[in-house]
């Protein structure tokens, strides 16, 4: 469920791209500082987005930048964003919590060698997770609840695609809105809910063919009543229907976003949500097919 909320780089201004990178690098440093060097591997686009979103919603403007040596590539110097510790700590904590739970989930789903690796990862992430959970108990509670509810919805008797997406959506709704009160809280609840829903569905769309082969649970398989092999015509039709479901989430996301504004990072968020998400839909649903169509 990581790696879907990205910028659409060709559409980004150079200065915006630099600002985005500076937050990305600063988040990586924060992870290293607070949770140890291995946790830098949990760095992801979603949590960078979270850090940016918090900065924008808090209207935290007086940011400064500094050059620091990159830990992964000591020859390179990176520009890091300074004086935004609260937002970065929160994003780093959420990253640890999400990673821990994802590993736990993998252990249940995987087999043999992969499962063994996941178990090792679980050992490493346990202590970091404990620390993050103690620091941000509400976020921990939100993610833990999602995990509890997810299994229930998949096995529930009356299948509704909205119900399947609800746990993830509720989780992100809480995670995004915890640091806020009043109007901002309401705006981020709305944004979080629909973004969580979108993430759940894009993840399901991405796994669709694998799940179909292996016979795993997938909301789209159940919704469209798919079985076995899919032919080209059918595939295209299914992709278009998945795309409609995903498109439907975008207007509420953008509507909520535009109620937060007047910040120098705002255009980056606008790029991620307004152009990055549709681009991701194109990549996942329609570009695999393009690759195949060419002889």
């Amino acid at each position: 469920m990581f790696g879907y909320v990205k910028t659409n780089r060709p559409e980004l201004l150079v200065k915006e791209d630099a600002a985005y990178k500076s937050v990305y690098c600063a988040l990586c440093r924060t992870l290293g500082k607070e949770y140890g060097i291995l946790s830098r591997f949990t760095l992801n686009y979603e949590c960078t987005f979270l850090a940016l979103l918090i900065l924008v919603a808090k209207r935290q403007e007086s940011l400064s930048f500094e050059k620091k040596r990159c830990c992964c590539n000591p020859l390179k110097k990176c520009v890091c964003c300074k004086n935004c510790d609260d937002a970065l700590s929160y994003a780093a904590g959420v990253s640890e919590i999400l990673t821990y739970w994802k590993i736990q989930d993998n252990i249940e789903d995987q087999r043999f060698l992969r499962r063994f690796f996941s178990k090792i990862a679980a050992l490493i992430s346990r202590r970091k997770h404990k620390k993050a959970a103690a620091k941000y108990p509400q976020a921990e509670e939100a993610v833990a609840e999602m995990m509890r509810r997810q299994k229930e919805t998949e096995t529930s008797e009356e299948f509704l695609i909205d119900r399947c997406a609800d746990p993830t959506a509720q989780m992100l709704r809480k995670v995004l809105s915890i640091p806020f009160e009043g109007d901002e809280n309401r705006i981020l609840e709305e944004l979080g809910y629909h973004l969580g829903r979108w993430i759940y569905f894009i993840d399901a769309a991405d796994d669709l063919e694998d799940d179909l082969k292996r016979g795993n649970f997938n909301p789209f398989i159940k919704e469209f009543g798919l079985t076995g092999e899919m032919y080209e015509e059918k595939r295209r039709e299914i992709c278009e229907r998945c795309n409609e479901v995903l498109n439907f989430s975008i207007p509420p996301i953008l509507g909520a976003l535009s109620l937060l504004s007047n910040h120098s990072f705002y255009p980056i968020l606008d790029n991620i949500l307004g152009k990055g998400l549709p681009e991701m839909q194109r990549k996942i649903l329609f570009s695999k097919e393009e690759g195949k169509a060419e002889p």
Binding site: L160, I161, D162, R163, D166, A169, D183, R186, I187, E190, Y193, H194, R197, C239, E240, N243, E244, V245, L246, N247, F248, S249, I250, P251, P252, L254, G255, A256, S258, L259, N262, G274, K275, P278, E279, Q281, R282, L285, F286
Partner: protein, 227 residues
């Protein structure tokens, strides 16, 4: 009060036309249609009000100061198209006279979704009218259960195809799903509209070079020595 120029995001030295453009842009962004059925529609309404006030203040200032009254009048009147927001609100706030579900409509406007849903669920299946399906859809939409909401809207508009309210909800949902969301020209992905038209990837570059090389070779020359 905040600086009206800041609210519209323009410089103090901006011309009347620039201010009008900025105002239109913002009015399009916060237009109530973009927030119909959303639980944060009230916040968008406040923003719209703020923008309208800022625009009025600036235009009033300019009218009293330098520019003549005519310049103000015409700019305001044409931009005033967006003021129809008020007209929308009367339909959006569900205050129609002939309704079987006045309580439900009131709860929905007050954001009391659980109460509205309770009443709706109390209606036995054989008594569910088109309006019931429409309101059920509205409740689900607010809760974020968009697919179910869409199903209910389409049931409502097929049961009563002449009703404008249901049809508007249905049209908007269909538009959003096909990736044609109102503002800014983006809002979802439309697979039937090729956005990457005119694009050129690494493969295209290589194959073009190979073609060029072949052409040159036909004519006795050579573009790429090694092949």
């Amino acid at each position: 009060m905040n600086d009206p120029y800041k609210i519209l995001g323009v410089e103090r030295s901006a011309t009347d036309a620039q201010i009008k453009d900025a105002y239109r842009e913002l009015a399009k962004k916060y237009h109530p249609d973009n927030y119909s059925g959303s639980p944060i529609a009230d916040l968008a309404g406040e923003k719209m009000k703020e923008i309208n006030e800022a625009y009025d203040t600036i235009m009033k200032e300019r009218k009293e100061g330098t520019s003549g009254p005519n310049a103000y009048q015409s700019a305001y009147q044409s931009a005033g198209a967006y003021q129809s927001a008020g007209a929308y609100q009367s339909s959006g706030s569900y205050q129609k006279a002939a309704s079987d579900f006045n309580d439900v409509r009131r709860f929905i406007t007050q954001n009391r979704i659980a109460d509205a849903e309770q009443i709706l669920n109390g209606v036995p299946p054989e008594k569910r009218s088109a309006e019931w399906y429409f309101l059920k859809g509205s409740v689900l939409y607010r809760r974020g259960w968009l697919e179910e909401a869409y199903r209910n809207f389409s049931t409502a508009s097929s049961m009563d195809p002449t009703n404008m309210e249901y049809r508007a909800a249905m049209n908007q949902a269909t538009n959003n799903r096909s990736g044609n969301y109102g503002y800014g020209g983006y809002g979802g992905y439309n697979p039937n509209m090729n956005r990457a038209a005119g694009g050129c990837n690494a493969c295209d570059v290589c194959s073009s070079l190979m073609c060029a090389d072949c052409c040159c070779e036909c004519m006795g020359g050579d573009l790429i020595r090694c092949c």
